[in-house]
């Protein structure tokens, strides 16, 4: 009889230990913060966002190299969007005016223009499904009550509060399959991302991507911000559907 209790105790202990190791710590406060941020972002009627990012790439010899980019995102519900990613004066852009979307690469001077659906959400879905294109900075906008599970979030912690770029932001740490990530979210009534750092755990070099966000919510956009005017010499080329090319 004594032996049974001992074994049961041992099994329970093992269960707790393994549970602790696998399950991690999901602080409700940290998980809720993500949902509130996503919900707030999705509710914005218009926005302008400039980011500075640093992205590691790994050379053939294993050395980690950092590349810097500036990204500009401008959107107005329901059907206007512009994204520009710039490095070394070379720029890649997406324009969406509610009828058509255009991709333009200043390095090659080539652009492609396609018919587009009637709102931003459908555009993002079409870009992803039909063309395999994922827009930068789009993923945090998607965070809702189901995302933590879908992403496989295993750890979520509040670290502390910090002042970044003049804003008081809460610093959170998250862990999910393949990546560890940290997010700073502005305190108060506008829960906007202040900073994001993603580290890959599935690579020995642990390359990082970090983004500093500068939000302008009250700067209005005009229609022509979302119109693409081909620069002199720009030429139109096709856009291959995802998987169409060998």
């Amino acid at each position: 009889m004594l032996g049974f209790y001992r074994i049961r105790g041992l099994l329970l202990g093992l269960l707790i230990v393994s549970g602790g190791a696998v399950g991690g710590e999901l602080e409700p406060r940290a998980v809720t913060a993500l949902e509130q941020m996503g919900s707030y972002l999705r509710g914005l009627q218009q926005l302008r966002l400039d980011t500075d990012s640093r992205t590691d790439q790994v050379l053939e010899n294993g050395q980690v190299i950092e590349f810097q980019h500036q990204t500009h995102l401008q959107a107005r519900r329901p059907d206007k969007l512009r994204v520009q990613v710039e490095r070394n004066g070379q720029r890649r852009s997406l324009f969406y005016n509610g009828q058509r979307f255009t991709l333009y690469d200043s390095r090659s001077g080539y652009f492609t223009e396609q018919a587009a659906p009637t709102d931003i959400a459908s555009l993002l879905a079409q870009l992803n499904e039909r063309y395999g294109i994922e827009l930068p900075l789009a993923d945090l906008f998607r965070w809702d009550a189901s995302t933590a599970k879908a992403a496989g979030l295993s750890d979520a912690l509040w670290i502390d509060s910090q002042t970044l770029d003049g804003q008081v932001c809460d610093h959170y740490a998250f862990r999910q399959p393949e990546i560890d990530w940290q997010l700073w979210i502005r305190q108060g009534s506008q829960p906007l991302p202040c900073r994001l750092v993603i580290s890959r755990r599935d690579s020995a070099e642990r390359p990082r991507h970090s983004v500093d966000y500068r939000w302008q919510l009250d700067a209005p956009s005009v229609d022509r911000d979302f119109e693409f005017t081909p620069p002199a010499g720009a030429r139109a080329i096709p856009l291959a559907p995802a998987g169409a090319l060998p």
């Binding site: 590349f67 991709l103 992803n128 395999g132 294109i133 945090l140 139109a236 096709p238």
Partner: protein
């Protein structure tokens, strides 16, 4: 001797003018940072990582038919940021000394907005190379000529014609048959 010298000078000048060919480094395919948190596709978890497969790295990257006694350890793009002063020791037949087999291009990662294609893989960086139809590359030599034929944009590079396409959010060049 004289024509060879002229060709060598032209080659050196071209490599000076060509910022792409001047880079020796190469990014390991699939090795870069992940730039998104929510898995692509939004709702459901799609486990394929941002970089579906390591970029096929030809080994050696650009095998060269003739042996190279010169100081360049790699037959690929010159390993030095700038061509060394003085004449090239190798007696190359053309202005571009590196005939290469067409290596398959790396697949574009879904988050390639932050991938420095601009300066990375310089595949097919010579107009003298004959590439198989259907070969895809991320950039073409600077001395290619942009041509519109029958309303279609091409890059004409010596014997090779490329048709540029957007593949994902990046421009890729596909070797096609000559339009005329």
């Amino acid at each position: 001797m004289k024509p060879t010298a002229t060709l060598l000078t032209a080659s050196l000048l071209l490599s000076l003018l060509d910022p792409l060919a001047a880079q020796a480094w190469q990014i390991r395919g699939g090795g870069g940072a992940r730039t998104f948190v929510v898995p692509h596709g939004g709702g459901g978890f799609h486990p394929p990582p941002p970089h579906p497969m390591p970029a096929p790295r030809p080994i050696p990257p650009h095998p060269e038919p003739h042996p190279q006694p010169g100081p360049h350890p790699y037959p690929g793009p010159p390993p030095h940021p700038l061509p060394p002063p003085g004449p090239h020791p190798q007696p190359y037949p053309g202005p571009h000394p590196y005939p290469m087999p067409p290596p398959p291009p790396p697949p574009p990662p879904p988050d390639d907005w932050y991938h420095p294609w601009a300066t990375a893989a310089v595949i097919g960086a010579t107009t003298a190379t004959v590439l198989a139809i259907g070969t895809r590359v991320n950039s073409v030599p600077v001395d290619c000529v942009s041509v519109i034929a029958n309303g279609v944009a091409y890059q004409h590079c010596g014997p090779t014609w490329y048709q540029p396409h957007y593949v994902g959010s990046s421009v890729q060049y596909i070797v096609v048959a000559a339009p005329w």
